[in-house]
């Protein structure tokens, strides 16, 4: 079979090299198009959530941390303790049960006579797993793995912090002495007027903030641009498939004559079928490899300059998924087309010659 495959490919390339180069080029272009579209679809769905952060976020401020007019003790000393704050927060969470939220609280904690910045990720940090009583901090005299006593509770420094703030990634284990200064509630999707009013009224009733900001309206032009990018990406994926379909349709039709010759020379239908499939797999592998190299080393950085947040989608998992999908579709289509010709009787094929 291997010699038959080599013979088929050598003959085809000698006869119509330019056609096969065009086929390879079309495959490469189609695959590049698929890679770009994956990034654009990812961008539309994640950037949609991130870019319209202001349209999903409710912010309330309880203590003005930038006010330099008073001492830290006067500013934070009389503030609400976190254990009292937590009770109110639980009643606010009931309002947006079905609209998941990331709650981030900034505050201060008194340690060593000083009020240090503290951040509380009340619902945890997405993509990471911290144990109860883990903290993220960079403190003098402590390193990662050390234990530190805060408010009589034993915390472990799980990782160093990139900022000076002490980060509590498991909200329910936050020390009671943390003084909340502001809260940021980032909802999963834009809240309705009713939902937003209910949340802001509850915050006002419980905590009497000095400042409260409601979500901005989603802008029509931003929504339209994201929808257009998704629609165009979907259309481009179809065009890429059709381009590859045209290429393989051509290869397939070219093989009819050769199958007749092979069968006259004693080849079985299964041999013809396998040669055709192997040839398609060879073009597919070569096309994918070249497309990957061109994209990874030439085009990806250019694309990332337009959409910096899509870097996360270009990992091995994405490339493997695209390759598998491409392989399955190509081999399925080629198998379907090839079986008909591979199994045709010789007499029928002789008519074709």
């Amino acid at each position: 079979m291997f010699s038959q495959l080599l013979y088929t490919v050598k003959n085809s390339l000698r006869a119509k090299l330019y056609i096969y180069l065009l086929i390879l080029l079309t495959q490469i272009i189609s695959l590049l198009c698929v890679f770009v579209c994956c990034g654009l679809i990812y961008n539309a769905f994640t950037k949609y959530k991130e870019a319209s952060f202001e349209s999903r976020c409710i912010y309330a401020e309880f203590i003005n941390v930038h006010d330099d007019a008073v001492s830290d003790e006067e500013k934070f000393g009389g503030g609400m303790r976190f254990d009292e704050f937590q009770k109110g927060l639980d009643s606010i969470k009931e309002i947006f049960e079905n609209n998941k939220a990331n709650i981030l609280i900034h505050g201060r904690i008194k340690m060593g006579g000083e009020y240090l910045s503290a951040s509380v990720f009340y619902n945890g940090i997405a993509g990471s797993e911290y144990q109860p009583y883990d903290i993220v901090a960079t403190l003098d005299g402590y390193s990662t793995g050390d234990h530190i006593n805060i408010d009589g509770l034993n915390y472990r420094i799980a990782a160093p912090s990139e900022t000076s703030a002490i980060c509590f990634p498991v909200g329910e284990n936050t020390p009671p002495s943390v003084v909340p200064c502001d809260i940021q509630i980032e909802l999963e999707h834009q809240p309705t007027y009713k939902e937003c009013k209910a949340i802001t009224d509850r915050i006002t009733m419980l905590f009497d903030p000095i400042n409260i900001a409601e979500p901005e309206n989603l802008k029509l032009l931003d929504v339209q641009m994201n929808n257009t990018q998704v629609a165009l990406s979907a259309v481009m994926l179809v065009i890429a498939s059709l381009n590859c379909g045209i290429c393989y349709s051509y290869i397939n039709e070219s093989r009819r004559k050769q199958f007749a010759i092979y069968k006259i020379c004693g080849a079985k239908s299964s041999n013809c079928f396998m040669v055709c499939i192997a040839e398609a797999a060879m073009y597919m592998a070569a096309g994918f490899a070249l497309a990957y190299l061109v994209f990874e080393y030439l085009l990806k950085n250019i694309l990332l300059s337009f959409y910096p947040n899509i870097e996360g989608v270009y990992n091995a998992k994405m490339y493997v998924c695209v390759l598998l999908a491409y392989a399955v579709i190509t081999l399925a289509v080629m198998s379907f087309c090839t079986i008909k010709y591979a199994n045709a009787p010789i007499a029928e094929e002789r008519k074709q010659i």
Partner: protein
């Protein structure tokens, strides 16, 4: 007579390799669809700029007048000068002839309707996406609402009945001259509005969460209501000078308008500043779409060239037979081009049908779809390129094989 032969053979070739041609038609149809969606979306980015484009092309200012909050009052709270009088006094000192574009607003409390009135020139060019109805110069627009207002209804404003010609889409923009900012562009002359966020459908009697339905109307419809004081003028307006000003006149006018020695001085943003910011935002929008524009162009070129090369290679046998029977290379090319033209027409019809169905299902609002002459030119260019590819590539193939 030869033309009939060309048509006959092109149809025969089409039927013989129908599978390959169908794939090519689908490819071309999707390419036309992609190109039209892209251009239509880029056209729609101008929806905010178009009403003010002519106005801000002149010399002028977005101006917040001195004592905009309500005129000058004495210690007892009695009005000494109204804001209208202060405005007239200020404008009378300006050099150069100008036109004023004001914004008026008011509320019909009983019905929960806010009215926004803009200049007729601006209103006539307004083309915000509509869920229902159409734009009309002699009628107003209403936001999506739950008080039953729809296209064709009438609203009573201080005894004046105005007709509603269209209902704006869920997410939209409302003309709003409340913001003035040193870094503003035309977008800041609008307020982003969302029915589903700002206006909750609430059948209960508790109207705590009820927001107002907004109506946008041209000045000419509600002139009487404005003169009767039912609608109030905003302290911010556009002043567009008819002729370009000299630097000295410009400096003088800026001094008059800002009235820096007042307790409440005026604020000015020049049209040049607004134009510059607008160009930056528009180029940013285009920059965001550049990767997909490049993708579409490359795929169009490679896809069409590849299809034409393969189809030509397939057809060589038939061309040889025709050549033997007396046809020339030019005849073969003509047949090839006619086949391509036939495929392009079918692809165009298919793409147009899909777009028409999409527009009827209001995906035009979801995608921002505004068709213009550039759509027609781009479509013609793609089809011309496809037909040309079917002339050039077969010529290369034929010249190499038929000697």
């Amino acid at each position: 007579m030869k033309i009939f032969a060309y048509i006959k053979y092109s149809l025969l070739f089409f039927a013989k390799h129908s599978g390959l041609y169908i794939l090519m038609i689908l490819q071309l149809a999707f390419l036309l669809l992609a190109e039209n969606i892209l251009i239509a979306n880029l056209n729609s980015r101008d929806v905010l700029y178009a009403p003010y484009e002519k106005i801000i092309s002149h010399d002028g200012y977005y101006f917040m007048q001195p004592y905009a909050s309500g005129g000058i009052s004495d210690e007892n709270g009695d009005t000494i000068k109204t804001s209208d009088e202060i405005l007239q006094e200020t404008l009378s000192k300006l050099k150069g002839s100008y036109k004023l574009y004001c914004f008026y607003h008011g509320t019909i409390e009983d019905e929960g309707i806010n009215i926004r009135v803009i200049d007729d020139t601006v209103f006539s060019v307004l083309s915000l996406p509509l869920e229902e109805g159409k734009h009309s110069k002699n009628a107003c627009l209403v936001t999506k609402n739950n008080i039953g207002l729809k296209a064709g209804d009438e609203v009573d404003v201080d005894g004046v009945k105005i007709k509603i010609s269209g209902v704006l889409s869920d997410k939209t923009y409302l003309p709003d001259y409340s913001l003035i900012d040193a870094e503003m562009s035309v977008e800041q002359l609008y307020q982003a509005y969302s029915f589903s966020k700002d206006f909750e459908s609430d059948d209960s009697e508790d109207t705590q969460y009820m927001e107002y339905t907004e109506i946008i109307a041209p000045y000419s419809l509600l002139k009487e209501s404005i003169e009767n004081g039912v609608l109030y003028r905003s302290g911010k307006m556009l002043i567009a000078f008819d002729e370009p000003l000299s630097p000295q006149d410009r400096a003088y006018n800026e001094q008059v308008l800002t009235a820096a020695d007042c307790d409440e001085p005026g604020w000015l943003i020049s049209f040049e500043q607004i134009r510059r910011k607008g160009e930056i935002y528009r180029s940013e929008d285009f920059y965001k779409m550049l990767p997909i524009v490049a993708c579409i162009l490359v795929v169009i070129i490679v896809g069409v060239v590849c299809s034409s090369a393969m189809i030509s290679a397939r057809q060589m046998k038939k061309f040889r037979v025709l050549y033997i029977n007396g046809a020339t290379s030019a005849d073969c090319l003509m047949i090839s081009c006619l086949t391509a033209l036939l495929s392009s027409i079918i692809a165009l019809a298919l793409a147009a049908a899909v777009l028409k169905i999409g527009i009827a299902n209001s995906f035009a609002n979801d995608l921002g779809f505004v068709m213009g002459m550039n759509n027609v030119f781009a479509t013609a260019a793609v089809i011309a390129f496809a037909v040309a590819a079917f002339a050039v590539i077969p010529a290369i193939v034929i010249s190499r094989t038929i000697k």
